[in-house]
């Protein structure tokens, strides 16, 4: 296989391409004020910027994509923003991944930011480049600029229809100043953005030719399989590798370490000439660990026990209108209940893997499926004590990620081992390693209080309880501080509910040693469950239809349109057959609003999920089909999160290990899905995650509608909804 190499600058490009001609390199700086990089070097910056367009004299065009693809389609959607304004056909463009260098700006695919943060900078990069090429053509023909126009990688003159390719103009264009305020297209002028476009990268994913991290092969490479502590954080006392060393192919057994963001744990690595030998050798290692205390601290029951205890006390206030407690105490029609969401594993089908080569000359090459090349470059540099200029990162396709491959522990393992033996080392985790070592979506509790008056929901309190990613992983949360990320997501500024009498959002940090991290849609998936099921409960308490009850407390026009569209697309007013129930939910997260409707029918003592419909308002978007695909995926992952087992730690050990005891949804369980995308000219919102949070509550509310059973703790056994 070949891993594409990125030309890191114009000088490198000229040197390595062997062409005695110029390439044009375009970038934008922090304030999106374009600079002509052929004259001044890019200013390193941490802010969104950074795209590169390479045009060769033969008119072949390369776009450098700064957002790794984990399946969400950034490999197409990010370059599409440049292609639209540059007037080029995306299908004829070569796309390569950025390598983490700071001049490309923020490069992490995460937080559903790729489109919404790059929407203007990348379009400006395309538009500015186009304007330079048009100006170069006008100069060449000695005519006015407005007598020229760009189309399909050429500049045409309107009078004679003569044309010059971008390649023929690129040298002249590169000598011009880049316009600082290029004219961007209006939505109605878009040819690529906002349309349904086929992803040209998908073809090779159907022939086995696509190269994922696991498929990377480097000459002289050896393989590693690593023994981690069965209680994750155990201290290694000693190990016996006598059986391991008998296995043909085993080359080394080394003490290793797993560098998580906030702590480093012990491990033992078996390195072999092939991975199977390394795994066999790993499996017969005898290690002695000091696990003291971990049997108590890695324990679901203990953690959730403290969460429910916290639900009986006041939390730290994040926001409040009026005196909620006083009003709640005085209210006559009220509810006080708690909701629970489990710890979850990401389980992308491709397990963690990374290939690193720390070379004897002090340089490093790294190939890995990773979400954040920029962060990886900085982190690996710090970890190895090697400057970033000596490190080359090759971003390879991720076989799924869902947040996991933004965590760089497995990459650092490969670096650690290669640094020891100076050979290229490929680390591959097993499925069991993935499930038992974490990190996980945190399990959380939402303590909900609310009251109704005269048939209207007028009081609401969401007390979010659990461990914080900001606190545990980034050590960035004071004990007396409300969790700002979680508070923001639970806020009425986000969910747009207006409670006439009083509302409150509060927070209690219940800490745990169970390692947590972001998982598709992060805390919104925890919070949506409590919020949207509880609104449903309050609606019933008020004697109102759940949709109507929401409409009464939502003023926001976009939210109302989303709900009305959902009602229209699902024939909401039509009565369902006896034994069927419909549940709805609406959650705003990552800058987008998604409403979901799920219908279920009674099936024995449980229910069968018949259909899921989602309406997404993500503002303007790049590819309608990608928006739909992401939302379909969110529905499947959201239902899986609601009905399949969570991660359970008992006496220090994760009770799940592979798909046999940590099953995810299979095709026979997958309902029919319909997705509708709202059309407007609002700024783009996130697409990869926003579809997930409303799914579980829509299901919970549907179960209530069909059976009268109110589920408050996930996962729910849909085969028997009364079982606990």
């Amino acid at each position: 296989m070949s891993v594409p190499t990125i030309k890191t600058g114009r000088r490198d490009f000229l040197k390595t391409s062997g062409l005695a001609t110029l390439g044009l390199l375009i970038g934008l700086d922090a304030e999106a004020k374009p600079k002509n990089l052929s004259r001044s070097k890019a200013i390193p910056s941490d802010i969104e910027i950074n795209t590169f367009i390479l045009i060769r004299p033969d008119n072949s065009i390369t776009i450098i994509n700064p957002r790794p693809c984990m399946g969400q389609g950034t490999i197409q959607s990010v370059p599409a923003m440049i292609a639209e304004e540059l007037e080029i056909d995306l299908a004829s463009v070569k796309i390569i991944q950025s390598d983490g260098k700071r001049k490309y700006g923020a490069q992490t695919s995460g937080g559903s930011t790729s489109i919404r943060n790059l929407w203007l900078p990348l379009r400006k990069a395309g538009a500015a480049t186009k304007e330079m090429l048009v100006r170069a053509a006008a100069n060449r023909w000695n005519i006015a600029i407005d007598l020229c126009y760009a189309s399909n990688a050429k500049v045409f003159r309107k009078d004679t229809n003569a044309s010059l390719t971008y390649g023929e103009l690129v040298e002249d264009a590169s000598k011009l100043d880049m316009p600082t305020e290029p004219i961007l297209k209006k939505k109605h002028e878009f040819k690529i953005l906002g349309k349904t476009t086929k992803r040209s990268d998908l073809a090779e994913r159907t022939t086995g030719k696509a190269v994922y991290g696991l498929d990377v092969e480097v000459p002289g490479m050896v393989y590693a399989c690593i023994l981690h502590s069965p209680m994750i954080f155990g201290k290694l006392i000693s190990f016996d590798d006598s059986e391991t060393k008998k296995i043909p192919g085993v080359l080394h057994v080394l003490r290793c370490e797993r560098a998580m963001i906030y702590r480093t744990t012990d491990s033992v690595a078996v390195i072999a000439s092939n991975w199977w030998a390394a795994k066999k050798g790993r499996d017969v290692l005898k290690a002695t660990w000091d696990h003291s205390g971990l049997d108590k601290t890695l324990h679901n029951e203990e953690y959730f026990g403290r969460c429910y205890k916290a639900a009986q006390s006041e939390g730290i206030r994040f926001e409040e209108s009026n005196d909620f407690s006083a009003k709640f105490n005085a209210a006559t029609q009220k509810l006080d209940v708690s909701y629970e969401t489990p710890f979850l594993s990401h389980v992308p089908t491709e397990p963690e893997n990374a290939t690193a080569h720390v070379k004897p000359d002090g340089t490093v090459e790294l190939w890995a499926p990773l979400q954040g090349p920029g962060e990886t470059l900085e982190e690996v540099s710090k970890y190895l004590g090697i400057p970033t200029v000596k490190i080359k990162i090759h971003v390879v396709l991720m076989g799924g990620s869902f947040g996991r491959k933004a965590y760089m522990d497995f990459i650092k393992e490969a670096c650690f081992l290669s640094n020891k033996i100076k050979l290229p080392v490929k680390v591959i985790w097993t499925r069991e390693d993935h499930i038992r070592q974490g990190p996980y979506r945190p399990g959380m509790v939402s303590h909900m209080q609310g009251f109704v008056e005269e048939g209207k929901i007028v009081g609401y309190h969401h007390h979010v309880i659990g461990e914080s990613i900001l606190g545990q992983v980034f050590q960035g949360l004071e004990d007396d501080q409300p969790e700002p990320w979680i508070g923001g997501e639970a806020s009425v500024q986000t969910n747009k509910y207006r409670f006439k009498e009083a509302h409150k959002v509060s927070w209690t940090n219940v800490k745990t040693e169970i390692p947590i991290m972001w998982w598709r849609s992060v805390n919104a998936s925890n919070l949506g469950w409590g919020q949207e099921c509880f609104i449903d409960e309050l609606a019933h308490l008020a004697g109102k239809d759940p949709l109507q009850a929401r409409m009464e407390i939502i003023e926001d026009e976009r939210f109302r349109k989303v709900l009305n569209t959902l009602a229209e697309k699902t024939n909401y007013d039509q009565k369902l057959p006896e034994g069927s129930g419909r549940g709805i939910a609406i959650v705003n997260s990552f800058g987008s609003t998604v409403a979901c409707s799920i219908t279920v029918s009674k099936f024995g003592t449980g229910v069968k999920i018949d259909k899921a419909v989602a309406v997404i308002d993500c503002g303007m978007y790049v590819n309608a089909d990608t928006v739909k695909a992401q939302t379909e995926g969110n529905i499947i992952m959201g239902i899986t999160a609601a009905i399949k087992p969570g991660i359970v730690f008992k006496n220090g050990v994760c009770q799940q290990s592979n798909y046999d005891n940590y099953p995810i949804m299979r095709i026979s369980e997958a309902p029919e899905i319909e997705v509708f995308v709202m059309e407007n000219e609002e700024a783009p919102g996130g697409v990869g995650e926003a579809g997930l949070p409303p799914v579980a509550p829509a299901l919970g509310n549907a179960i209530f509608a069909a059976t009268g059973v109110r589920v408050r703790k996930l996962p729910v056994n849909i085969g028997d909804v009364n079982s606990r």
Binding site: T206, T207, P351, I667, S668, A670
Partner: protein, 162 residues
Amino acid sequence: MASYKINVNQKVYNLKADPDVPLVWILRDYVGLKGTKFGCGIATCGACTVHLNGKPVRSCQLRISAVPANAEFTTIEGIGEKSLHAIQRAWNELQVPQCGYCQSGQIMSAVALLKKSPDPSDEEIDAAMNGNLCRCGTYDRIRKAIHLAAKLENNLQSSIKK
């Protein structure tokens, strides 16, 4: 170490390996065909699905020493080598893959299904495809794409007959 001979995509490969190496690693690391993926190692995810004499099997469960003498394997690289298989065309048409990592296995199962049942019902699809997990959640499209592939194939057959 022992010597083995295996037939993959109608080519014979001679290799030396330990007897217990599972076929998925033989294919990937000894033969060099990386299209077959590793996902779970216990036959629960289907990412490693290949055909053994035309029938789908989980290559993570078959040790090289247990490979039958008459075995002819087909991997994703052997599907649609000259022109794309109807399943692959349908997959492209309906844009089935997201990350695509599981899709080699999905396609191997779907190709085998279509061979056995040229116009499968939803129930047949669910039964045949139930061993293949997709974490990206492409199931609804997989179902639709198999129906489309059946149609493409049937149209082709009837146009050949004409």
